[in-house]
Symmetry: C2
Subunit: 515 residues, 2 copies
Amino acid sequence: MLPERQLQFSFTQNSDILKNRYDEYRDYMRRIADVKYAAAVLQWDQETYLPPKGASFRGQQLATLSEIAHELFVKPSFGDLLKTLVADPSLEAVQKRNVALTLEDFDKNGKYPSAFVRRMSEATSTAYHAWIAARKENDFRVFEKPLADLVALKREEAHLLGFKHHPYDALLNEFEKGATVAWLDNLFREIRPVLKNILDGIMRKPAPPADFLHQHFDKDAQWKFGLDLLKIMGFDFEAGRQDISEHPFTTNFSTLDVRVTTRIDENDFASMAWSCLHEGGHALYEQGLPEGQYGLPLGEFCSLGIHESQSRLWENCIGRGLPFISYIMPLVKRYFPQLANAEARQLFAAVNKVQPSLIRTEADELTYHFHVVIRYEIEKKLIDGSLEVKDLPGYWSALYKELLGVTVPGDRQGCLQDIHWSHGSFGYFPTYTLGSLYAAQFFAYVKKQFPDLDQQTAQGDFSALHSWLRKNIYQYGRRYTSEELCNKITGEPLNLDHFRQYITEKYSLVYQSSL
Amino acid sequence: MLPERQLQFSFTQNSDILKNRYDEYRDYMRRIADVKYAAAVLQWDQETYLPPKGASFRGQQLATLSEIAHELFVKPSFGDLLKTLVADPSLEAVQKRNVALTLEDFDKNGKYPSAFVRRMSEATSTAYHAWIAARKENDFRVFEKPLADLVALKREEAHLLGFKHHPYDALLNEFEKGATVAWLDNLFREIRPVLKNILDGIMRKPAPPADFLHQHFDKDAQWKFGLDLLKIMGFDFEAGRQDISEHPFTTNFSTLDVRVTTRIDENDFASMAWSCLHEGGHALYEQGLPEGQYGLPLGEFCSLGIHESQSRLWENCIGRGLPFISYIMPLVKRYFPQLANAEARQLFAAVNKVQPSLIRTEADELTYHFHVVIRYEIEKKLIDGSLEVKDLPGYWSALYKELLGVTVPGDRQGCLQDIHWSHGSFGYFPTYTLGSLYAAQFFAYVKKQFPDLDQQTAQGDFSALHSWLRKNIYQYGRRYTSEELCNKITGEPLNLDHFRQYITEKYSLVYQSSL
């Protein structure tokens, strides 16, 4: 049978019913969201099911959708509507906030001259392909010139957007509203000795055995185990699904259609399982956002830092904790007979083993943040001009030696390992660390609120946690900045003490001595 | 990880390079195609992977994309461009034809007042939901009023579009350009006694055993067998894929991304296998269309009748023939041990068994056309007003009794069985029969050109057939009407004799006596 698009009378039209101006705004935003989510479906398909020859036309289709969404958003008449609405005293608080945030986004978009947009679009495309080639050849020099061009443009962007103290602030703001170099410098200055002390303590202890994680684990069993983990944590399979892709990610096309992906390594037990918990944490957040705010700022996530706090809360605070591991142990043994004699305590120690390494995405919960610190230092200096792109590999290696004590054997395992810079995403990395810090702070607060959370977790009962997350985080969408949200929930701004306490406790348990 | 759409600098812009007007036209059409194909991806996902709760927002996203594509297409400035180009003497033949066909489509679109478009959109939506409800209750009366409203609108549409002799001609023209009531009346008048005679002859013979097709057949084995069939017929899995859906269909997002779907019935061996060949035939056509004409009329299929000729050529002429079945027999036995003792001849007879029945989609190759004749008669009379919607079920039952000798036990197995009318698709059904007739005529012609086609087929060698189809059908896209194409290829217009001869030969072989 041929597709319905040839059967259906495909013309539809907006209703002519008289709308008030807020409804007009809302419907217009929904229309833009429809186009953006359609693009997200095409991207999801690209990463999961697209046949190889389809890639080129798919790229063109995605570019067209992204153009259309952009054209709709920057229409001057839409700007006029926003300016009228923002001054409308009859709006309710939620409506006011939606309009204010949209106007903010609109004004920001207006700061980009179209010639700049075109140059940026070309530069990122060139840089991305150069990055692919450079990785293949294990040679940063292939990426050097395109990256230098991109950095120059990012500096220009920082000036277009405007900043008070440091040009990097403008870029940070794109990912984490309100974050600044001054604030992050402080935070990282504080966190480095904390990490260093604990790491030094750990390195003096014998490492827990973890070899048993690297046997052969059946693919189907891993797949089913991953689905079970998502079910256990409360992922709604009526409003989402899991598929396979090369790199795990979470995307969504509404709060009622949230997709996670995973990959299976047959020689690594922990990789897929904890990745499911990580993506599942992102997904629960998306499934929990207010459905009625589809397409509006208050239907979107708060910030990347808060999004990451949700993935790390589930992956690390819950998922790498002893109560959770005790709970899933019978399931582990059922799916993987080779672990029949393992004990929860052993698995707990193995998946929390600390080992300084070269690759960020494979790092443990502790040394991970050194990887972020290194990228932060580099980005900041590239943007303010105190580091030149040609000196990047050397600086990278020096920092890895200094902070992690490892020697970088080549660019592929060094400064070419992340995709972010090739996309022009400067200012993204710090949100990973912010995510861990927020997660630890929220987790500490939840545990205080529910003193028997560990017992509940050990029984697979997440009802208290779910309703707390819904009530305190999910329901607000982008209503508050991450800083405001953190204050509102925990009564204080981001406070490193919670993370310090969390990892100290955890690793004291893993390494069976106080650290 | 969060999706790349949050990582990418997503603004892109059209290049400012000076274009000639044809290039401008082509790029604009590609842009529209990008949106339409994006909608097709969303529809494919809806039928294959969409989680249930995602349906409502998905419907909205599809409506928005379809609106955007429509708005782009009906822009007056685009009409002006077309009118300039159609008078441009410098265009090449292919360009001229593209522009002429686009202008034809543009002018047709202009005939629909927007109030009519809205009424039609609402009426089809209402009718579709009423049809679902009516099927559930097995009661046509639930569907009666919405269908009557839709029929009234379709009559109005026929008058808007214009016609010479019969209002139904205008609707037919949407699916098969040039088809008319006068022509089809003739064709069906001729075909009915042909079918009747052969059917009578068959009914006097003992039926071939076919029970062995209805054992339990392993799901995985069927899935793999289906993929092998697609490979055998030359489906390019680098430019397409197969998935599972409730109803099998073929769709595409470019000639390099063609998707077929199938469903597996564990108690029916033939259902999925021959459905794969059917959809595979559609898919080969789509994969064979000229890639360089993406988004343009000459990159589209000729007509529904010709599309159906491709599915039926592979499903029936090739797939239900003894040479093909002999070729796949070892594969059948490998996947399905329960058929280890079956012979090609027996399978050939079983999958060609004729049995008058109630359901069109389950009908054999011979009685199928009675189902089409019945729908044609009903549609024609509904549109010209000589049949009222309330009398439809009675007329339906009377025709089934008269032509097929079967008693309709209820509306669900009667006049509620097809989705088409609920979509407002009047004029679609005849293309199914046209497909079979074109297939038989093309097949006769190919066999004359390649006298050893049967031997090639028996060896799984389709190279001659493929290059013939590419050269004579695929490459032209919508360049010719079906009538012109048929004349060009076979040197004569559609001629029933080829189908008559084809089924006479086939059923003489199946029933082992001349019919």
